[in-house]
């Protein structure tokens, strides 16, 4: 045993026990675990959709329109004779990507701006926070609709629109945390050490914001899924023949009378996924950062 390992050990131990505590609290939360299992299953099913489903999501079969559920077509077929369940599986790819990518973008932007705003204060803080005020005052759906109107309806612009809608609330939370952290002793010590400002912000403050970011991330995914499905439902989101769940509901609603499952089933997929992510988010919040609980 050298002296080095003796010094290093307690810190490593502490980190390991924090992670272990977090995992234990999370795994004891039954709803969160159910949510997690659901999401993992969904991700696998979406990723391996071509191997799971024997049907082609784009193949048109006009002699097999709007069939009821059967052993071949578990949820029946749509107006083009395509298997509804297969369409939902492929739609999951888009809905999940749209849930995750814009959330990551708005998290990145919101974190950088929030830390800058909280740590630097002054004019930076003023400008960033007034921008955030405006973004938050803007009704989210309308803002996203205007972006889609201007830039055109495609997947990339949905990312942009949802990131634009989402960054402001992240920035506000991160700023508040930064304000609290900058008064802590370890930051003061770093400052006294002559550590550069950027190193303090992104080497010392940032790691302490990560637990909050994880919670925000898990809660912004269902929100993004909801916004995307609403945009697609209104016709300014994903365009056919691609299929997100919102679009599937929109297209299916014309045939509510003959085959209600075509519109209802993708909606159930949205509902379950959004709930699962919310359960995971609640579980993570309780495990990582109990102070965020209202």
């Amino acid at each position: 045993m050298t002296d080095m390992s003796d010094i290093a050990a307690p810190e490593a131990l502490e980190e390991a026990s924090f992670l272990r505590d977090t995992l234990r609290t999370f795994s004891r939360n039954r709803m969160a675990m159910i949510g997690l299992i659901f999401v993992v299953t969904l991700v696998l099913a979406a990723a391996f959709a071509p191997w799971i489903s024997p049907h082609d999501p784009y193949r048109v079969a006009l002699d097999e329109q709007l069939l009821p559920a059967s052993t071949t077509y578990w949820l029946g077929t749509d107006n083009f004779g395509r298997d509804v369940l297969t369409r939902i599986l492929y739609g999951a790819r888009i809905s999940l990507v749209v849930g995750i990518v814009p959330s990551l973008i708005s998290l990145a932007i919101g974190t950088v701006l929030g830390i800058l705003s909280g740590y630097l204060g002054g004019r930076t803080d003023f400008v960033v926070m007034r921008l955030a005020d405006m973004m938050i005052a803007f009704p989210s759906l309308l803002l996203a609709m205007v972006v889609m109107y201007t830039l055109g309806a495609n997947l990339l612009n949905i990312f942009f629109a949802l990131a634009l809608v989402g960054w402001a609330s992240v920035a506000r939370v991160v700023r508040a945390q930064t304000l609290a952290l900058r008064e802590k002793e370890f930051i003061e010590a770093a400052r006294a050490n002559g550590t550069s400002r950027s190193r303090i912000m992104f080497g010392h403050i940032f790691p302490n914001v990560i637990p909050t970011l994880i919670v925000l991330f898990s809660l912004s995914i269902p929100e993004a899924i909801m916004w995307e499905s609403s945009l697609s439902f209104l016709g300014v989101g994903v365009q056919p023949p691609e299929a997100s769940w919102g679009l599937l509901v929109a297209k299916g609603k014309e045939y509510m009378f003959q085959a209600p499952a075509v519109a209802i089933a993708p909606g159930v997929a949205i509902l379950l996924t959004v709930m699962a992510f919310n359960f995971i988010g609640d579980g993570l919040r309780d495990a990582l950062d109990p102070s965020m609980k209202d």
């Binding site: 803007f138 009704p139 989210s140 309308l142 205007v146 109107y149 709930m275």
Partner: protein
């Protein structure tokens, strides 16, 4: 109090101006000619040229923005390209329908949300509490367009109790109000629950209990009065949120309101109409937030005292 209200109003003015600027830039820096795009093959170059001149589209952007702001301040939001009528008229004609939908939906959400919230707080950590909160989460997690379809299917198509869509009387308002109200009932019930739980911990509640007052009396006569303060203030914000949720609801139920104007403006690429409708909705949201803040200070003496100290 008056000072606070005044200061709060002054603070929202730059936010509002900033929003008009963002909105204007987003809608006016469109790649390509909006007029040519809208008229497609119908517009000859001369017609397009004339419309462009009429709308001052060839002026510098800053001039156009200032003119837009000046006109908007005077209640002039331009002319709809598609319908060839003043945007302000179209919006004001549609607004009462949207307002009625929002008010009915708000009522629904309070009638569902507040009792559920109280029930869950009183029976905290029991099966009933978890059930109520699960029900709330269900409401929040359902896409509005989907629950709308579901209710249309059950109540209009199958049971034939209510009309599917359209807007010709109160019967047409039931399903849209239910759909929209249910979607925000979850927020209300969660807030009611947490706020009531917080109040129940305070000293004056302990005093009331010590006096020998029954639990029901403690809640209805003492706790609820304070617990509902944040709920009341969120109502103002909520009405604003309902106005934007109304976009989807109006589109599905064919209610001729501001939300449907917005959707139609997008599909017919009617820029002035879209600009006007979005600006109108945003102003309402800012007003809602303003009212909420002021209401909060009026209702809660603690906030009032704190404000006096700051001022």
């Amino acid at each position: 109090m008056l000072m606070f209200a005044l200061r709060r109003i002054l603070v929202s003015i730059p936010v509002l101006i900033g929003i008009t600027l963002i909105l204007f830039i987003m809608l006016n820096v469109v790649p390509g000619d909006p007029i040519a795009l809208m008229m497609k093959e119908h517009g000859s170059p001369e017609v397009i040229e004339r419309v462009r001149a009429q709308m001052h589209l060839d002026d510098p952007l800053i001039t156009r923005y200032l003119r837009f702001l000046w006109d908007a301040l005077h209640g002039d939001l331009g002319t709809s390209i598609k319908l060839n009528r003043p945007v302000t008229d179209l919006i004001l004609k549609a607004f009462p329908n949207t307002l009625m939908l929002a008010v009915c939906a708000a009522l629904v959400s309070w009638l569902i949300g507040i009792p559920i919230g109280i029930l869950s707080a009183v029976r905290r950590d029991t099966f009933l509490d978890r059930f109520c909160m699960g029900f709330s989460l269900l409401g929040v997690s359902m896409p509005i367009f989907w629950s709308a379809l579901l209710l249309q299917y059950v109540f209009a198509m199958k049971l034939k109790l209510l009309p599917v869509s359209g807007f010709y009387g109160w019967r047409y308002m039931v399903l849209p109000a239910l759909v929209l109200g249910w979607s925000s009932a979850g927020v209300i019930s969660r807030l009611t629950r947490s706020s009531l739980l917080e109040v129940m911990r305070l000293d004056y509640i302990r005093t009331a209990r010590a006096k020998g007052l029954g639990e029901a009396g403690v809640i209805t006569r003492h706790a609820l009065k304070n617990a509902l303060i944040p709920v009341v203030t969120i109502m103002a914000i909520q009405v604003a949120g309902l106005l934007s949720g109304a976009v989807i609801t109006e589109a599905i139920f064919s209610i001729p309101g501001v939300g449907r104007i917005t959707v139609n403006a997008i599909s017919s690429r009617d820029m002035p109409l879209l600009q006007g409708a979005v600006l109108f909705a945003t102003v309402l949201v800012i007003l809602g937030n303003l009212v909420a803040d002021i209401l909060y200070s009026v209702l809660d003496p603690r906030i009032r005292a704190q404000m006096k100290k700051e001022a």
